[in-house]
């Protein structure tokens, strides 16, 4: 009986051996794959097991990380002033993932990024508690507060850039929300989020980056730039060939101006000062769709912008002649994000150089050593320096004694352009109030701003770029200039 016994012994050995091989396969060969599997809750647990790094504005953290008692996620994200910073940071929720900076810089904030490998290895030996790194932003707290204060309870957005570097100084979107209310993992967090999602005013929509509006008359500076760049006009104080009334090409519709303003053959300076639709509509038609597209793309249109948070592409599409003429005054199919218009203003203020907008100045390791520092980079040459200065003169006239007088700041040169964009079927809905501007001091331009206000509560006739939007732009510019002193 011993021969079959020996064979059974071998059989049992094979059983154990196959278990050992399977175990090696699972725990050695497939270990990484299983450990980081998307269904593996340990990934999430680990994510929240350590204090999350902070997002920093003006040297102070605007976020925090608190220990929670409930559930298996230990640390929860909190914001010092959630609604103020939500358009910048986005949210980071245990239950609902993250967005914007919280999402893009997650590696640094959790401390798991490859850039922190050395740091992690070091702290393994020193026994230091694991912690996330910090993200230092370019934002200016005062400007951000001014933007939110100006927008108040109205719907709208503000973007302020440093024209010289492209640094984003303010990024506001109203109504805003407090990401703290659904940062956790509880039923209440879920209810809070549902409520935000159901809100008709869409508080979680980042209007500054992810909403496109017809830019209205603010777009006329782009048309003016295109005319100068393409040699259609050269002298901003020479008369243009602009008949009044002017009929849209291939059409019988007359393009109207707002009120009885002196637009017939008006100079560029005059046309922009009083915001002549006829002059710029014809100018766009004279240049043609192709050249207009070329110019807008130099300003960054038709392409998504990464700040690194993604901003929707602003659109200046191929279109027929009448539509192209309308697009030239910022109507028809022309749609831009507030960020895009801030980029237009900043390129003009920076003598034609468009800088890549960015909001992350520095990534810091948990021990505050920088692991990455942003170097400003030129995105494109939007227009020549000479022409940029001409457009500056036009815009400065608008603020000095045109539609934009509300944006004046004593002792500072301000250039700007108002806009009141019609929208809805037959322009039936309340228009959007726009204002784009820049300020100039002795050391160049420190700030360029774009403001859009979509106010459903205001009286229709009261809505105008100069009335609603310009004061906000002024306050934001003032906040930036004051903070530099």
């Amino acid at each position: 009986m011993n021969k079959p016994l020996r064979r059974i012994a071998i059989f049992c050995g094979i059983l154990v051996l196959s278990l050992l091989i399977r175990d090696n396969w699972l725990q050695y060969v497939r270990a990484d794959e299983l450990n980081s599997h998307k269904y593996n809750r340990r990934v999430e647990i680990e994510r929240y097991a350590h204090e999350r790094g902070d997002i920093i504005v003006d040297g102070k953290a605007i976020t925090g990380s608190v220990e929670t008692e409930d559930g298996d996620f230990r640390y929860k994200r909190v914001w010092k002033d959630g609604p103020l910073w939500a358009p910048v940071t986005g949210y980071s929720s245990q239950a609902f993932d993250s967005s914007q900076l919280e999402n893009l810089e997650d590696g640094i904030l959790t401390g798991n990024d490859d850039q922190l490998f050395f740091d992690r290895t070091l702290s393994m030996f020193t026994g230091e508690k694991k912690r996330g790194g910090n993200i230092v932003t370019t934002l200016n707290g005062d400007a951000q507060k001014a933007a939110f204060k100006g927008l108040g309870r109205k719907k709208g957005a503000v973007v302020a850039l440093d024209p010289k570097s492209g640094a984003i100084l303010a990024l506001a979107s109203t109504p805003s929300y407090d990401p703290s209310v659904f940062a956790g993992n509880s039923l209440k967090d879920s209810d809070n989020r549902q409520e935000l999602l159901k809100d008709e005013d869409k508080p979680m929509l980042n209007r500054a980056l992810r909403e496109t509006y017809p830019p209205g008359s603010t777009f006329k500076v782009v048309t003016a730039a295109a005319a100068l760049e393409n040699g259609l006009y050269d002298d901003i104080d020479a008369k243009t060939e602009s008949p009044l009334p002017w009929t849209l090409p291939q059409s019988t519709t007359e393009l109207r101006n707002e009120g009885d303003i002196p637009c017939e053959n008006a100079t560029l300076r005059e046309a922009l000062r009083v915001s002549c639709n006829t002059v710029f509509g014809k100018m766009s038609d004279d240049l043609g769709n192709k050249k207009m597209i070329e110019q807008t793309e130099k300003f960054g249109f038709n392409k998504e912008v990464f700040t690194p948070v993604r901003a929707d592409a602003s659109v200046y599409p191929e279109d027929n002649r009448p539509q192209n003429a309308m697009a030239g005054i910022g109507q028809a199919s022309n749609r831009t994000t507030p960020l895009q218009m801030a980029m237009v203003a900043s390129a003009i203020a920076n003598d034609g150089k468009l800088m890549q907008p960015y909001m992350v100045a520095e990534r810091q390791a948990p021990n505050l050593d920088p692991v990455y520092t942003h170097e400003p980079e030129e995105l494109s040459r939007a227009l020549s320096g000479e022409n940029a200065q001409k457009v500056q003169q036009l815009m400065e006239t608008v603020v000095k004694d045109g539609t934009g007088t509300n944006a004046r700041i004593p002792g500072v040169t301000v250039g700007g352009k108002t806009g009141t964009a019609q929208h809805g079927l037959n322009n039936s809905e309340k228009p959007y109030a726009w204002f784009i501007s820049y300020a100039k001091t002795d050391s160049g331009s420190p700030v360029a701003v774009a403001v859009v206000v979509e106010d459903g509560n205001a009286n229709r006739d009261d809505i105008s770029g100069g009335g609603l939007a310009a004061p906000i732009a002024r306050d934001v510019m003032k906040a930036v200039i004051d903070s530099k002193k």
Binding site: M1, N2, L5, C12, V16, L19, L34, N40, R41, D72
Partner: protein, 466 residues
């Protein structure tokens, strides 16, 4: 001149009993378990667990009593069986206690702290060992109860059919005021006794009265009867109790014993064919089994849809997350498996917290128990002892394979518990009884032959007298 009556030429040289080796190993096993227990406490709360002294003393007491009883009643027993069982039992207690501490586990509706109950059943298990060794002086006594064993085993197997299913399997009976029992665990041992007795008697008929067909010895129809009956029984268990594991275990064990008894390879071929037919036919119309197979083929595909898949995937992720060295006791998240994490899936906790290294060590400990069992079968001097030993160790090996292979996704998962490690009173009790019987057989096998009694006639034939 002194009169010396000891006239035998060869004195009985006392074979080494190896009892001191066993004692040292038992101490070692207890020490490892206490260390694991302390480790859990330090990792979870940063301090030594308050129950550590009681736990350590209890486990030491169990190991000590078992050792003394072996020393007293089974002096020549295999020295490894007891320490290995003590180690697994002690480690199991530490793991179960660790899972009891899990907040996630405590939040489940089904949660009941299992560690103290497991300790109680370990004590009863060791008491069973003591009783078996004290009462059963020779394993051959069991031979007398061959057919009674069959009746008892069948009764135990059929019993759960009359009780409601628990978690999809009808393998439990509920005794009011006591708790639940899994009679299948005991039936496993009792039916081995029946097989051994039956096969010992019938082995020649089965082995020799056969026809040769295509190079295989085919048994006669009348000898085929019993194996068909067992096959039918295991299929019935599978169908009515939806207990894939137990039927696989019984059938595998019977084929192994049949092969050992008859030395005919044809039985294995025959057995494999029949089990394949049985498995395929049952799998085609039993949804419970189908679910398990789907879960086995692609665990992650059924995430959020199929409970069995999700459980399987969670188990695999626990293993994967452990990696080579594991997270350390108390620092893993194997409790994410939730239901049955401390019973069927306890190996996932071993895998995650002790890593590949710990898992291999535990598997090798099981392998060693099987090896000692097979060695006992080889050393046994009587066919009944051989069959019983190989039956018990074979079923132990198959059970380990089926459970460990199941939770590691090597084969479809079946509802069985890991011997000694997993929480479960019946299982601990039955496995201590199994170890007791193996110890008894090994004692008989290794016991030196009794010295020939001095013959009075010898004196007459001796020429030279001292």
């Amino acid at each position: 001149m002194s009169v010396v009556t000891n006239t035998t030429t060869i004195g009985a040289i006392d074979a080494p009993s190896r009892r001191n080796t066993e004692l040292a190993l038992v101490v070692f096993a207890v020490a490892i378990s206490v260390f694991a227990y302390a480790n859990v406490g330090l990792a979870l709360n940063g301090e030594l667990p308050s129950g550590m002294l009681g736990y350590g003393a209890g486990l030491a007491l169990l190991g000590g009593v078992a050792h003394l009883v072996v020393r007293r009643f089974a002096k020549y027993a295999d020295p490894l069986l007891l320490p290995l069982a003590t180690l697994l039992n002690g480690l199991g207690l530490a793991l179960i206690w660790r899972l009891d501490q899990s907040e996630r586990f405590q939040a489940l509706d089904t949660f009941v702290p299992a560690a103290s109950k497991q300790l109680l059943f370990s004590a009863i298990g060791v008491a069973t060992l003591v009783a078996v060794l004290a009462i059963l002086k020779d394993h051959r006594i069991l031979q007398r109860y061959t057919y009674i064993s069959m009746v008892v085993a069948l009764f135990l197997l059929i019993l759960p059919m009359f009780f409601p299913a628990v978690n999809g399997a009808k393998i439990w009976i509920k005794i009011p005021g006591f708790g639940t029992l899994q009679p299948g665990e005991f039936a496993k041992i009792i039916i081995t006794v029946f097989f051994s007795g039956y096969l010992m008697v019938k082995r020649d008929a089965l082995a020799l009265a056969s026809r040769r067909f295509m190079g295989l010895y085919l048994p006669r129809g009348r000898d085929l009867g019993p194996i068909l009956a067992i096959w039918a029984m295991s299929i019935l268990i599978l169908v009515f109790e939806t207990d894939l594991g137990t039927s696989l275990l019984f059938f595998g064990m019977f084929v192994v014993m049949l092969y050992v008894a008859t030395e005919r390879t044809s039985w294995i071929v025959f057995g494999l064919l029949m089990s394949a037919v049985g498995a395929v036919s049952v799998a085609t119309f039993e949804p419970h089994v189908q679910e398990r197979i789907t879960a086995w083929l692609d665990p992650f595909a059924g995430w959020g849809k199929l409970n069995a898949s999700e459980q399987m995937a969670k188990s695999l992720m626990a293993f994967g997350s452990g990696g080579t060295l594991g997270t350390g006791l108390g620092q893993g998240n194997s409790d994410l498996i939730g239901f049955a994490a401390n019973s069927d899936f306890i190996l996932a906790t071993v895998g995650e917290e002790l890593g590949l290294a710990g898992m291999m060590a535990v598997l090798l400990v099981y392998g060693l128990i099987v090896e000692r069992g097979v060695r006992t079968a080889l050393a046994a001097r009587d066919p009944f002892g051989k069959l019983l030993a190989i039956g018990l160790s074979g079923s132990f090996a198959i059970q380990v394979f089926v459970v460990a292979g199941g939770v590691m996704g090597l084969i479809p998962l079946t509802g069985m518990t890991m011997p000694f490690l997993a929480a479960g009173g019946s299982s601990v009790l039955a496995n201590w009884a199994l170890i007791a019987i193996l110890i008894r057989i090994s004692d008989t096998a290794r016991r030196p032959a009794p010295a020939p009694s001095p013959s009075t006639d010898a004196e007459m034939t001796q020429v030279v007298r001292p």
